[in-house]
Amino acid sequence: MTEEPKPRSAGVVYTETVVYSAPEAFLKDAPYQIAIVTLDEGGRVTARILGERVAIGDQVSFVEHRDGVPYFRKSAS
């Protein structure tokens, strides 16, 4: 999705991975988790995950955009 990211609230993890072998721009972050999140308002987005690792089916909440990338965190259950 190349459009400007819209404000988002929450969603469910559709798939995820922890990246160990990072591209040069993200070497300092590795290992880090990325996920494709199915948004409550519809559609999916590729996001970075903050904090605790998530698995498929986990509820996640939108935290913020950094450099156009949405960051999500596992929702409090």
Binding site: T15, V18, V19, E24, I34, V45, G68
Partner: protein, 386 residues
């Protein structure tokens, strides 16, 4: 449309060749191919070149005439095709279309990539340009990460296990060890594959194909003229290319590649054949999960059954339907632009009965599947003894 044949083939070895440049690799493959067909460069009526990222990897543009000139081919169209990892397959598809339509008789299709002169992070960056730079890649994805997310979802939906992925690596390494032109000629055990260095969970180093240098070439001719060049012509029975949504987060279901399904359906219809008729296949195992999904998308097994299908030995060299008898991208190597053309060379060699230690038992009807990006391009070709 008239029938088209593969009249000659030629390949370089795949590997890391610090002393070789892009043009010398392409020229070697092209010359070997012309020699195989007892043809001269003056007979070639067009050059179709598959190359993913020569301008980024080696800084050279205008690649098709650059290669043609090195081969002594002049005065005819020389054009580059780019479709990420399906660049070679796409060049081949368009060349077959042109010969079938009667535009040319003799066409040289060449695929080449020179990747190892760049450091690994730069290679990763260049490969990443085949993904959506404004979305998934900006979030920190790499190609292994995209296929890792595909694998995770496949495991979740179908119960595919790490052992299934590892079984693909073990099989393709075993086949590659028998192939004198393969980049990686090392047998590995299931335990080794499972204990590989993590790249992007659940994929380890053993789930990923090689970064390689190499080139491959095919000479096409109308079937009626093929006998001028070979005693063993191989006919292009069916071929199609298709596209799909670009980024993974735009797809409804990431455990299947609709472009491959669409291309396979068309190619099967054109060939008057079905999945059950295919005796062996070379498929695009850029990552182990991609081979599992290929066997499902090509209709060899139902969705979700690709993992057990490989793990039980059905796709081994001596199995019921060998898949990647050459070692595949995993062990043979994956010089991106060369891959799709090399698959055609490998299937042709099998049909001719010239695959040496990698020869499959039943070899009259074979298939090649070439995938671009994370599935936005798919090319499927069915070849048979003429």
């Amino acid at each position: 449309m008239r029938p088209v044949a593969v009249a000659a083939i030629g390949k370089t070895a795949f590997g890391a060749f610090p002393d070789r440049d892009l043009r010398s690799l392409a020229v070697e493959a092209g010359r070997k191919c012309l020699e195989d067909g007892h043809a001269g460069p003056g007979q070639v009526e067009a050059l179709f070149l598959g190359n993913f990222a020569g301008p980024a990897f080696v800084g050279q543009s205008h690649l098709a005439p650059y290669v043609a000139s090195g081969l002594g081919i002049q005065g005819v169209p020389a054009t580059r095709f780019e479709a990420a990892c399906a660049s070679g397959g796409s060049a081949f598809f368009h060349a077959v279309s042109a010969v079938a339509a009667g535009l040319y008789d003799l066409v040289l299709v060449l695929g080449v990539e020179k990747m190892t002169s760049q450091p690994t992070p730069k290679v990763a960056e260049i490969l990443a340009s085949a993904g959506d730079l404004g979305g998934e890649m900006r979030a920190g994805a790499t190609f292994p990460a995209l296929f890792a997310m595909i694998a995770r979802r496949h495991m979740h939906q179908y119960g595919t296990r790490r052992e299934h992925l590892a079984a693909v690596a073990v099989k393709n390494h075993a086949n590659g060890a028998r192939n004198p032109q393969a980049h990686m000629r090392k047998v590995i055990t299931l335990e080794q594959a499972l204990a590989g260095k993590p790249v992007a969970d659940p994929l380890t180093l053993y789930d990923c194909s090689m970064v390689s240098d190499g080139a491959a070439a095919v000479l096409l001719a109308p079937l009626e003229r093929a006998a001028e060049f070979t005693s063993k012509p191989v006919r292009v029975l069916g071929i199609a290319q298709a596209s799909d949504r670009f980024a993974l987060d735009e797809k409804e279901d990431i455990t299947t590649f609709p472009a491959v399904r669409a291309a396979a359906e068309k190619a099967y219809r054109m060939a008057g054949a079905g999945p059950a008729d295919i005796e062996f296949a070379e498929v695009h195992d850029c990552f182990t999960i991609a081979e599992i999904i290929a066997t499902e998308d090509l209709g060899f097994v139902k969705p979700g059954e690709g993992g057990p299908y490989c793990a039980q030995g059905s796709t081994a060299l001596d199995g019921a339907r060998p898949v990647n008898a050459s070692g595949g991208l995993k062990a043979k190597g994956h010089p991106v632009g060369a891959t799709g053309v090399a698959q055609i060379c490998d299937v042709t060699a099998q049909i001719r009965g010239q695959a040496g230690d990698n020869q499959v038992r039943r070899h009259s009807l074979g298939l090649a599947e070439n995938l671009g990006g994370s599935g936005a391009t798919g090319v499927v070709t069915i070849l048979g003894a003429a």
